[in-house]
Symmetry: C2
Subunit: 356 residues, 2 copies
């Protein structure tokens, strides 16, 4: 199938660009002395996880137990579940993963959750690696006080079925702070907090073997702190217009967007405007509107027109023809990916596979 014949609206992933991004981050992490456990929450796709592992990653980070199930089924080891589990359903599914022999570690931020994990691991007859989740200013999950993190590490160490594996410190809220110098400064403040947690744990005889965190926007700064053993970036795989607009290092952004939304012109009756079959259901809307890339008139501007439609407004005459294909760069890759399945995989002008 040709790229332009993929049924629309659809997400396209350009595998050449994706592989280039995978190799680039692998090389960066190696040069920075960091292990790499890239996050799967953006793609949730076994084939992509396998490509990342084949390129030499330590493992794959997952946000949900559903992602972990899919990735583990694909034969991927070194899974880290980066969000605390608290529902009985989540625990049951983790229990089944343990029974099936999945190589998975999980974070925890509460004594009750650690007790549940201990029960779970005992029932599965296995030791489970548990990582203490530390809040570093995001206010989402994680222990708030240094003392709480130490107490949790101690509780994990004391549980026969659990292995205290280290800490997680993720500043998701700082990944896109611009300019780079401001991001660097704000991460520096939170890094002091991570340093204090590590010092307190070390004093308590609980020096963390793993210090995991970081993302696409922060990985160079993370490395400079000297605190992390590994990073869990994910956005570099697909990129998007928000990430594309910021610097990843002092003054460049080496990653290229590999993910596009394909749409078709379905109405051409309005002067200075064509309507495509992609709207709120085809694009994430939490971070602004998509950017028209290929097929549109130069400078064309996208505007949401309901669940199924968007307008491309342009200056002058001679707009694109009815039925013509268009491609867009999304503003936020993760929720956009969640709206589409399967994922057509393209190389230049050809579609070569469908991934789920």
């Amino acid at each position: 199938m040709r790229r332009s014949d993929v049924p629309t609206p659809a997400l396209l992933v350009d595998i050449d660009i994706l592989d280039r991004n995978i190799a680039l981050m692998r090389d960066h992490a190696a040069a920075l002395g960091l292990k790499l456990r890239p996050h799967a929450k953006a793609h949730k796709c076994v084939e992509i996880a396998q490509r990342i592992m084949a390129a030499g990653a330590l493992g794959i980070s997952c946000a949900t137990v559903g992602e972990a199930e899919a990735i583990a089924l694909g034969g991927v080891d070194g899974i880290l579940l980066t969000a605390p589990l608290a529902s009985s359903d989540g625990r049951e599914r983790l229990g089944r993963l343990l029974l099936r022999g999945a190589d998975i570690a999980v974070v925890a931020d509460h004594p009750a959750a650690v007790a549940d994990l201990s029960t779970l691991a005992e029932a599965a007859g296995r030791r489970l690696d548990v990582v203490v989740d530390v809040d570093v200013g995001m206010g989402r999950t994680g222990c708030l006080e240094v003392g709480d993190a130490v107490a949790l590490a101690r509780q994990i160490s004391a549980a026969p079925a659990l292995n205290y594996a280290g800490i997680q410190a993720y500043w998701g809220n700082l990944q896109q702070v611009s300019p780079f110098s401001a991001r660097s400064r704000r991460i520096g403040i939170q890094a002091d907090r991570v340093r204090a947690v590590i010092a307190a744990l070390t004093s308590a005889g609980l020096a963390p073997a793993i210090v995991s965190g970081g993302g696409t926007g922060s990985h160079r700064i993370d490395a400079a702190t000297g605190l992390f053993t590994e990073i869990q970036p994910g956005s570099y795989l697909f990129m998007d217009s928000c990430y594309g607009a910021i610097s990843i290092s002092e003054n460049d952004n080496p990653f290229t967007p590999s993910l596009f939304v394909a749409a078709t012109v379905v109405s051409v009756n309005k002067p200075g405007r064509v309507v495509v079959n992609a709207g709120w259901k085809a694009f994430a809307t939490d971070s602004g509107k998509p950017v028209a890339l290929r097929g549109g008139p130069p400078g064309a501007d996208f505007r949401f027109m309901g669940d199924e439609h968007g307008a491309l407004d342009f200056e002058g005459r001679g707009g694109p023809a009815l039925g013509s294909p268009h491609e867009f760069l999304t503003s936020h890759r993760e929720p956009t990916v969640d709206l589409h399945s399967p994922l057509p995989v393209v190389v230049c002008a050809e579609c070569i596979a469908l991934w789920r």
Copy 2:
């Protein structure tokens, strides 16, 4: 399974409330002398379409050929595809529906599309009902000029494989104009346009048998214009916080939300805040944030905290416990439904089915 045990994040549909909304709109339409072809774009669910048909609807409106495929497979007749098709993929799938004997009519807004539909119907050896889509101020799809609509109706009439079935005039942009009096006034202006199109078509010997349009927010006003033969509302089935905030008639809104997002508290380490496992991937974000309904502290306010998480901020002490269930009303039902499948169906405290 109990309602509180449904794996989260999940969408729940309360079937008793849904059935009440279905019956209420059926009774309204009957009292107003309008036929009813409710829109499936919000639910895309065969079981719901079948319940609507069992309650006496004329048919089901669909926004995409994919929705039409699913609904036709469920044995539903009287399908109207309400958005013009322009991709080769869409035409091929419509062709297969025709060959399988689906009872489906489609809208068109361009001579090239009518020519394609004619070729398609000839190939399928069937006559295809085609409805002229008329733009009534929304600027999305539809003929812009009265003359264009008449020319298109003439072209459809002249095509042996096509049957000119009537017109569609949909003011989607006016459904939620508030207050009701302003909505009524603005629809009145566009209704003059529909009146002019009908008059021109009638003069040309092309009086439309079907005049379709309208929605949940406008159906009482649509009826008052005396122009429509049928309406295609969909939002009344599920409702949402945006629709819940407006009056559907002069001074009341008889429909009740039947759709909820269920989430679980996964972190309780912050004072005045708990974190639930539902974020940008669980809720549509195009129309504001969800409203906390059940399980939360009184007055709790939802805040997005990334792809997988949201915060519930509340005043005072004693927040909900780790692992406790919460339910939310979404701000915009359609894109939210697209993020979830299957759809757990609940009656009061019990989950009785899973719909896809």
